[in-house]
Amino acid sequence: MNKKLNILIVAILFLSAQHVFGQEWTVPADKENVTNPSEYNLANVKKGKDIYQLNCKSCHGDAGKNNALPLVPVPPDVVSEKMQANTEGGLFYKITAGKGGMPQFETTLSEDDRWRLVNYIMNYNSKNEPVLVDAPPVKAKLLASVNEADKIVEIFAEYENKGEFVKLSGAPIIISAKKAFGNIELGKVLSDENGRAEFAIPENVIGDEEGFVNIVVALEENFEVVPVILDKAKVGKLKEVPKLIRGGEILWSTNENIQPWLLLTYLGAVGAAWLAIGYVVFQILKIRRYSKE
């Protein structure tokens, strides 16, 4: 019985290994040379990078860092020869159809997004001029204040250009709320030609018990900037305080708000018992007095 089972298990393992290792992932000829309808430019590559970060990075890792998950087979790095050996049509087919450990994205990503993803991968192809360049971060400065009445954050941004700080226009500014376990992003706003921006705090932001929110204003990662922290801005909704814990209607409570009947019962019972004990001790003393009679 056991022997049979062992043979079966070995057979299944062997077959499934065949399935994984044995076959090359071939792309049907008609799909191989489909041309990419989306243009290879910065906007599309950037969009493709965002999609990659959300959907692919968890297995394939960061481009060029070779930090993919140790799966079998190992998901190839975006920069790797194995990845770049694919044609654009082949990449699109593989993303769409998936195989084995690689999921299909036909139902989760739109066709446009899948082509943008291909554009992102092609950024690292030797045939193309890379549009996505890792420039050293630019030094920048941020000023921000909060208008509590209108619930608006006003921002002014500058960046360093040839040793001088000039207005930073068209840069996305990230506004977040500081929470106990990290920041929660409230939204983004682009600075105008004067380097200024206004961000309206959404109505549903929850503050502390008094409605205070700690707002963090920052720039994207290609800027070197000290984030502005606006402490205790009264722009949020009041945090609801659970009534049961603060109220007086629970038994297990602190001495400050102990229920009177409980305290009286305790003190009454203990007092009565010790009064009786005291009375008995008094009787014992009486026995001593009676011995003189």
């Binding site: 038994l251 297990w252 409570s253 602190t254 001495n255 102990i258 229920q259 409980l262 305290l263 305790y266 003190l267 019972a269 203990v270 018992a273 010790w274 009786a276 004990i277 009375y279 008995v280 001790v281 009787q283 014992i284 009486k286 026995i287 001593r288 009676y290 011995s291 003189k292 009679e293």
Partner: protein, 453 residues
Amino acid sequence: MKKIESAEESRKLLDKITFDLTRSIVKKDEMTRFWFFILIMFIGVGLWGWIIQIDKGLGVTGMRDYVSWGMYIANFVFFVAVSLIGFLLSSALHLLKIDWAKPVSRVAEQVAIAGVALAGLIIVMDMGRPDRFLNVFLHGRFASPIIWDVTVVTTYLVISVLLFYLPLIPDLALLRDRMGSEVPKWKMKIYTILALGWNGNAKQYKTVYHAMRILMLLIIPVGLSIHTVTSWLFAATLRSGWDTTILGPYFVAGAFVAGSAAVIILMYAYRIRYGLKDYFEDIHFDQMGKLLVFVSLVYLYFNINEFLVPGYKMKSAEGVHLTNLFSGSFSSMFWIVQIVGLVLPIILLLCKYFRKPLPIAIISVFVLVSAWFKRYLIVIPTMEHPFLPVQNVPENFQTYSPTSIEIMITLFSFFAALMIISVLAKLFPVITIWEYAEEKGIDKKYLSETPKN
């Protein structure tokens, strides 16, 4: 009750009773020394374990984040349980005017004092910082069952000591008057001081009766609450196995089982060791056996309620707990405890033969040992299934097994309890002499006579 008219006969009988019942005080042989040697040795080893624990912290025990109540708390519940017999035998049966219980009541009080004193001590030994013990009183919350428990344990200890002392006063006077060269001077000094100058006048007897009656009435609510409050320490939580409304009476019923067994064992030891065959008679063992059957049946009834009703429903968390008890890792302990500690004793003790001194003493040993493991089963399995997910912790956090330090300290508690009982037995008669003499028809006036020789 027949009255002995002849003065000669009364004096003769009183002399015999006094002689027999003070044998435990006078007797001094190799056996006594050996017994105290054993006690002191184990107490010393246990205290050494406690010193290690204080030095190194509670990490030397098997208790971790999830199982934070281990063998110490199980042991605490056991000792509280055992001590409860004092209230049943020396108060409830006394007030019901059940005569056979009278000679047994001092034994019961010995057990009660030893049990409740050790219960208090074990809690201190369970603390990581015993030097902060006073904070319980200074900063305690009145809404916390732990404060109720500390209060009620202290109160019960005081009442038990008083209930031991009050009927002892006339005996102390008797010892003061009759024991001369047989006992060392320091003992005589203790008798003289504690006898309060008793001379046996009517007013004194009246006061003793009056005070005893008050104490007996007082100990009923206090005794009931000591173990009910101990059960609330568990029942006031939401944990499966503890979250039940019958835990109070369940604990009280279980306590009577454990305590009766302890008293029977002690009675048998005294009967053999001090030759008290005529005092702890077969009828006392027979009656104690019937009492044990009765309280065991009550306990069995609560056990059925405690396990059948949740076992019928098998609510998810409760189901995990019960499966673990019925067929899981605790199943052998559970079934042995239920069968050897409860079902078999009931069946056996229904036969008259098994209520004879030796058989019932042996059965009682099994009942008492099972009672200890029963407390272990109440505390530890529930702690092992917290409602929290047990994750990202070392493997030894998930289950509990006592360490040698814990076993040493637990052994200390057993031997310390035996030490208290042994010292009480070496100092004071194990049966109330004056009550017993009165029962035999000897007039009170002969008690306060100083013998001529």
